[in-house]
Amino acid sequence: MLVTALPTIAVMIGANRVVRGVAITNPTGDPTLSAADELALKRTIVSRALEMMEADVPPGTVWEVKGE
């Protein structure tokens, strides 16, 4: 399962479970946040990815980090 800030390309080439990352330079982080807030964000992103590992999805599915 893939976390990337370029999910369109990922799906185009055949990735099936994709979570949209924050930015190209920091898919699983955010330098504008405080360290504590950033860790919380990282946990949210990883948790989303874990949820996706446990979900039956159609081919080429992209989830945002929040909601769905």
């Binding site: 399962m1 893939l2 920091n26 699983t28 982080g29 990282k42 990883v46 948790s47 446990e54």
Partner: protein
């Protein structure tokens, strides 16, 4: 028009695997499958698969000398089908012949490592995996050899040979903007349209969902070029030649200064201040401690996904997946650009 034909020990009739160390050999005229090539073969050069693999420069030296002595219009190698060592020898020999001004035509399966070895120099007829295709492949190779020598290979129908990584310019009446708008309008209207560029990759079926990550082992994989400080394995910034694994079993986080990214395709300074922004090990460990994740494999699997040759990317993915399967990893968390 005359050709030289390159065969391995098996197709030249020297023997099977036991003859894989066959030293280079030169025979007059066509031998074995070469006899069914529809082109005059003045000489056949032969090398054992293992000999070529282990003594590449010696093999090339001898084979190229014999080939150049014949002054052929074209060198024909194989077909090697899916045979990796043979395909590698074909691709390498073809590449070196082209460097010396002799066009080369090969035949092999598109995933044969010989395709990468040829590095775009040779015209490679795509074949199936098995030798059963021989009778159909030889005429395609002969036809392509004629086309190459006569300078008309580039106008052959798509699929005649594998992409060589070269683009040929053609003039068309309508600009790209016009063609793109027309294509979009057709798509919106539900009319048929033909894409001009196709992604060359297979569709992978969706792997079955895990029942629960709390009972599973996951692995961390990245194409963001994350490596220990000083890049001990010299992972490339682009065109990665391989992937590497790094022991993270004792780590709760990827510390700035201990780990870094060598990816040449994006600005890494944000990530280098906190490499967990590329591989979120800190968050993974927190969730692991809380029981949300069962186990995390002890290694980070890392490569650089920047201008990576598609065939190599596929190869790396398969190799890493194979390793993960062998050690019982149920899911990979892959992060990157």
């Amino acid at each position: 028009m005359n050709a030289v034909h390159f065969l391995n020990q098996f197709f030249a009739g020297c023997g099977g695997e036991e003859a894989a160390s066959q030293r280079p050999l030169r025979l007059d005229g066509a031998v074995g499958p070469g006899r069914q090539l529809d082109i005059a073969v003045s000489a056949t050069v032969v090398c054992g698969d293992d000999y070529f693999g282990e003594m590449e420069s010696e093999a090339l030296g001898q084979l190229l000398q014999w080939i150049e002595d014949e002054k052929p219009d074209v060198l024909i190698c194989g077909p090697a089908f899916a045979a990796g060592r043979y395909g590698y020898a074909c691709g390498t020999l073809a590449r070196e012949a082209v460097r010396r001004g002799i066009p080369a035509v090969c035949g092999m399966h598109e995933e044969n490592p010989g395709v990468l070895a040829a590095d775009g120099a040779a015209y490679i007829v795509p074949t199936g995996e098995g030798v059963a295709g021989m009778r159909k492949v030889l005429p395609r190779m002969s036809d392509l050899a004629h086309a190459v020598v006569e300078g008309r290979a580039e106008s052959a129908p798509p699929g005649t040979y594998l992409p060589r990584g070269q683009r040929a310019n053609v003039f068309v009446e309508k600009s790209g903007a016009d063609r793109a708008i027309e294509m979009m309008l057709a798509k919106i209207a539900g009319d048929s349209y033909e894409t001009e560029a196709k992604p060359p990759l297979e569709k992978v079926p969706v792997p079955q969902a895990l029942a629960s990550v709390a009972n599973a082992t996951i692995a961390l994989v990245t194409e963001a070029g994350v490596v220990p400080k000083d890049n001990p394995d010299r992972l490339e910034q682009c065109r990665a030649k391989g992937w590497h694994s790094y022991d993270i079993s004792g780590l709760d986080s990827l510390q700035s200064g201990s780990y870094e990214s060598v990816h040449g395709g994006f600005d890494v300074h944000v990530a280098n201040r906190d490499p967990n922004r590329l591989v979120p090990l800190d968050a993974v460990r927190a969730l692991q401690r809380e029981g949300r994740i069962g186990r995390v494999d002890g290694f980070l699997y890392s490569t650089t996904g920047n201008c990576t040759a598609t065939a190599r990317s596929l190869k790396f993915g398969r190799e890493i997946a194979q390793r993960l399967k062998e050690i019982g990893v149920a899911a990979a968390l892959v992060t990157g650009t």
